[in-house]
């Protein structure tokens, strides 16, 4: 009972939201059945997919929901099939399934937490910054072959097959993985050392 009373304002808000959205749909000459055919997939995906995105402020939530649903209704004027697909796509984008690295072609493949993806992201965010340049110069000085692999993988975005074709010293693709593992380990140790030095 306590939980119900605690959640009651949000239930009332959700019901009002639905009523406003249905009213807007009717204002642009959509029938109730049509509106429900568009809204049901949207609501279902938001409820069942991974973590739906929400605003903390109810006013922002209301305004953006009305705008997005209104444009879904506008798009659905093209046709019912397009309307349903657009509705499903919109719902998907507004959940954690729509996160970058989270969307799979054949279904939910889950987050890409591979160490190379983490390094990719770090390099993309910190291109040209001192710490990264220092690491790259050190790598180039200590091991030119690993440096070549690093550049081809993270800057030129080449596949393992192409990297092994282009680097004479490495013919086996498995050795690319071994070298990248060493690069990744050195990279994380380097960052940790930098953090320690900064604190001290």
């Amino acid at each position: 009972m306590k939980k119900f009373l605690y959640l009651l304002p949000s239930y009332i808000f959700n019901i009002l939201e639905i009523l406003i959205v249905v009213k807007i749909g009717m204002m642009i000459d959509l029938s109730l059945t049509y509106i429900l055919i568009i809204l049901i997939p949207f609501a279902t995906i938001r409820l069942t997919a991974k973590k739906a995105c929400h605003y903390k402020d109810w006013r922002k939530c209301l305004v953006w929901t009305i705008l997005v649903i209104f444009t879904i209704f506008v798009a659905s004027k093209v046709g019912i099939v397009v309307g349903v697909l657009v509705s499903m796509f919109n719902a998907l984008v507004l959940t954690e399934r729509g996160d970058i690295r989270d969307f799979g072609l054949l279904g939910w493949k889950g987050k890409d937490n591979s160490k190379y993806a983490v390094m990719d992201e770090y390099i993309e965010r910190n291109k040209g910054k001192d710490t990264l340049i220092e690491f790259e110069e050190t790598l180039k000085r200590i091991d030119p072959v690993k440096y070549k692999i690093y550049i081809k993988k993270f800057y030129e975005k080449k596949s393992f097959e192409k990297i092994s074709d282009e680097i004479e010293e490495i013919k086996d693709q498995r050795r690319i993985t071994e070298n990248l593992d060493i690069i990744y380990f050195s990279f994380t140790m380097f960052l940790e050392m930098k953090k320690e030095l900064a604190i001290n």
Partner: protein, 181 residues
């Protein structure tokens, strides 16, 4: 015969080049460029040339372009690429619509078409900004737990969806207008 040549050299080839170059510059694609061009050419031919002015095939083209990127580039292709793909499609539809408006006053169609093709590639003057825009867009897309992004992830997604939804409607509207003419 001349119609076929005009269609090929002032229609099909520039449009395929336009889509391919837009994706290459925006996403910073360095591999499998020719494969990408061939896949886009085949998809474009099947969706747009074979079934002209049927809006479902225009929308299917967006989905298929995303599918091509996913098959060729796997993890580097993300959901935001759907929004990126819809930008050149909107621009090309808009130019075709303007082409149609002007054609009513002028009789020399090949000249108008040439001007249209030139206008198609004018945005590439700013091609260096395409990739910067894409990287920034990608960075702001996911939720930033440190709160450093200037715009909230959900706000950016909402804005993108609103534009995408309106775009669907506009493309359909322009296609219907062109069919009527």
């Amino acid at each position: 015969m001349s119609d076929i040549l005009i269609s090929l050299f002032l229609g099909f080839i520039p449009e395929i080049s336009y889509f391919t170059l837009f994706l290459i510059f925006t996403k910073g694609i360095k591999e499998k460029r020719i494969k990408l061009a061939i896949c886009i050419a085949v998809t474009y031919f099947l969706c747009i040339n074979v079934r002209q002015y049927e809006y479902l095939y225009y929308f299917a083209f967006i989905g298929l372009m995303f599918g091509i990127l996913k098959l060729l580039y796997k993890k580097e292709t993300q959901i935001i690429d759907v929004f990126i793909i819809s930008i050149p499609i909107f621009y090309i539809t808009l130019l075709s619509f303007l082409n149609l408006l002007i054609k009513e006053d002028y009789s020399n169609y090949p000249i108008i078409l040439c001007m249209n093709r030139i206008l198609l590639f004018v945005p590439f003057i700013f091609r260096k900004m395409f990739n910067k825009f894409y990287i920034t867009y990608k960075r702001w897309w996911n939720r930033d737990r440190e709160g450093k992004n200037p715009i909230k992830s959900i706000t950016l997604r909402n804005i993108s969806l609103i534009f995408f939804n309106i775009l669907i409607f506009i493309i359909n509207f322009l296609c219907l207008y062109m069919i009527e003419k």
